[in-house]
Amino acid sequence: MDTQVLGQVPRIIGRSVVRHDARDKVQAATAYAADWAMPGMLHAVVVRSPYASARIGRLDTTRALAMPGVAVVLTAPDVPRNTLWTDVPGQTTAVGPLRARLHILAEERVRHQGEPVALVAAETLDQARAAAEAVEVEYEPCPGVFDPEAALAPGAPLVHEGTNLLAHWRVTRGDVEGALASAATVVEGEYRTQFVDSSYLEPESGVAWLDADGVITIRVSTQVIEHFRDVAEVLAVPQNRVRVIGTYLGGGFGGKEDVTVEVYLGLLVLRTGRPVKMVWSRQESLLGRAKRHPYLMHYRTAAASTGEILAHDITLVSDAGAYAYLSALVLLYSTVTAAGPYRVPSVRVDARVAYTNNPPTSAMRGFGAMQMVFGYESQVDRVARARGLDPVRIRALNALRRGDTLPVGQVIETHVALPELAARAWAGLGEPSRPRAPHLRVGRGLASNFQPYGRIVWLHDWSSAWVGFEMDGSLVVRCGAPDVGGGQASSLCQIAAAVLGVELERVTIHISDSALTPLAGTTTASRQLYMSGNAVLKACRELREQILGVAATLLGAEPTTLTLVDNAAWAPDGRQLPLADVLRQCARVGVPRSHLGVYHAPAGEPVDLERGQGKVFPDYTFGAHAVEVEVDLETGQVRVRKHVAAHDVGRAINPQSVAGQIQGGAVQGLGYGLMEEILLEEGINLTTSFASYLIPSAADVADVEPVILESGEGLGPFGARGIGEPPIGPPAAALANAIADATGVRVTTLPITAERMARALGLLGP
């Protein structure tokens, strides 16, 4: 669509330009949220519950307040509005509408280990920590529940009043039982995935102050500057008295989508009038921040003798932990994608998520859709083996096509490149490797996935951006999008430079400031290039028309025949006017040199999934990963030797950034598949350091070869699709399939550590 309007894709689109933020970052010139200090600044810490389930008896801050350097100690009664409510629309099943509730500081009860109970601010960090130790809290431990299935059983201890069932989604299409009864092949499998942590290298951090204009200003590492409204709500001040400045993030991956330090900073500034800094330690981040949802997935899959998948009967149970956060929506993503990117005539999904006294779970890259890949791609692999089909063939045979309808009723409106992606990923492995020793076995596995990009259509998503020329022809972009490190800001510059015909070096961008940049929504859901890319594109096109209208009168030509290239307006006969001249004329005749663009995503009302009515997401990104592994039959150690990751990204605005997203996501997916796990014992986190919570190092992984397919079919600028989340989906399933190929053993629980693999190989006894 866009390519037709412009005639062709501008030349700077599709070029691997060097990102402006990277130039700063290689010189350590980027001021992250913690790289900030102010005169008279206090240091603040959070006092957290050591218990997973307890009643708060006495809570006494007297001793802490008397400690040297302490400015303030806050507990729940000090918070103007201690409860944050979030409406979760679209909840149409038995559970009813959901209003997710979150206490800023615990009242009477703590429901998970690490739950915030009090805040301390002092002149130095050491003094704040010492005073935090001196806050006296008497806990009376209560019975807790630590497994979602146990939480749903009658008589289970209640985490909140009413029921432990937080959300329940169902999908029903076709005759599942009939298909299972008559199919040539039925494969049944149960799969378990684990709690994992985002583990961005930059822990949660920020500095806040009362600015000269009386506005509480919070400079923070966040994926969502719109939380300024939540801060105002908690502080009981008008929303226009709180400003959030989002810094360039040291990683987000969904873990900085919920509020982290900003509400606490706001409270402490309101109370003290002084600048306050709060930086969580790694231990605190691992303890206190929400995790990825673990799942128990049960699949029964029916297939024809030819390998066509006829039916899935799927039961999902997930763990919300102690507070709702985004669990209902995460489960919705699971429900919609559980049958995979395939045409399956009969599908039943029954998905529940329960409160427990485990750490809360919430957004993390892949958001409920990525866990499903381990389930459906393990099943597809087993069907292929049962029917004697190769991995590429069975995926090509069953792949969705444009015009097909998902089990929830959504019609796939764009091209599905799945067969090509699977074939190219598989072929990319090249010649099979030979085992390097007699006790090693080599195997290969393939896994495909689809991941929504853009928010659920009934959230009525929008983004806005302002683009304007300075008098010298340099360009300014203002857009409220946070940059989590994926190159969000740089891509917007590239789009503006392309449409307005200026060099990238002449573009400056201001991002992520709730007071000074037009709001652009969250940097989550693989939506920022799609949404804000479209907003910038729209703003630039309007601005281009304004400028060319003025240039046309100067050149005596039709505006539609003019082009804007190389800092000049060009007539078809080759005459040109320098941009600066046109801009001066704009000022003279009163034509604005800027434009505010607003992009609205396709919107709809909540659907009844069970009746399969229709659209849930704007569109999907498809992918396929192939891996070659080496399994040590003596130790259970699994090593990845080759990894090819193919995705249809629609259009690669900056191919190097796209490749980076694919490679980085793939390695996070490998970490999920091989090593990462938050271990809990009765809700107590045993993995609160990087010495016990292991993420992949350079030595743990192989190079990832990205395959970038450009169908031009996405809903983003120039046909781009979202690529932030999709690459994390396939690796774990591809690993399990490769291990099955190498050893004949099917692993159904993640992560596939050497110990788990050794057990599966029978090396550790029965």
Binding site: D21, Y200, F253, S657, G665, S689
Partner: protein, 155 residues
């Protein structure tokens, strides 16, 4: 305690308690934010600095122990506005995403290459195993280091 040391080529005198880490001194006393705190227990490598030319986790070094020693943070490897060729290689090869690990990785790599001027890719992989990166998956970081090692005109 009074501690004299050389930071990025210049003599510095600071006062630090005996239990203060070099990372705290750099960031909180000297306002040098090049080194980042990622874990504060020597696992992630984000706080790497060069101590007498060797990479160390500055979160594990007590400031009084650097007395009369030389400390280099990332800005110390640059001359003026010109990027070090390894910094340029990181740009050219897209080895930077969020950038939080980048200063530590650059310093670890430079110190390693000083001692092993012609490493192969697997050597580099092992040399960087103490510097975690959550964004890139490491492929482009290794690409950048390799390109730097085999850059044209290198003696």
């Amino acid at each position: 305690m009074i501690v004299n040391f050389i930071l990025n080529g210049r003599p510095r005198q600071i006062e630090a308690p005996a239990n203060e880490t070099l990372l705290q001194t750099l960031r909180d006393t000297l306002g040098n934010f090049d080194a980042k705190e990622g874990c504060n227990e020597g696992v992630c490598g984000a706080c790497t600095v060069l101590l007498d030319g060797r990479p160390v986790a500055s979160c594990l070094v007590l400031t009084p122990t650097v007395r009369a020693h030389t400390v280099v943070t990332l800005r110390g490897v640059q001359s003026g506005d010109d990027l070090h060729p390894l910094q340029q290689a990181f740009l050219d090869h897209g080895a930077v995403q969020c950038g939080f690990c980048t200063p530590g990785i650059l310093l670890t790599a430079l110190a390693f290459l000083e001692r092993h001027p012609r490493p192969d890719r697997e050597d580099v992989r092992v040399a960087l195993a103490g510097n975690l990166c959550r964004c890139t998956g490491y492929t482009k970081i290794l690409d950048a280091v390799q390109a730097y090692v085999s850059r044209p005109g290198r003696s």
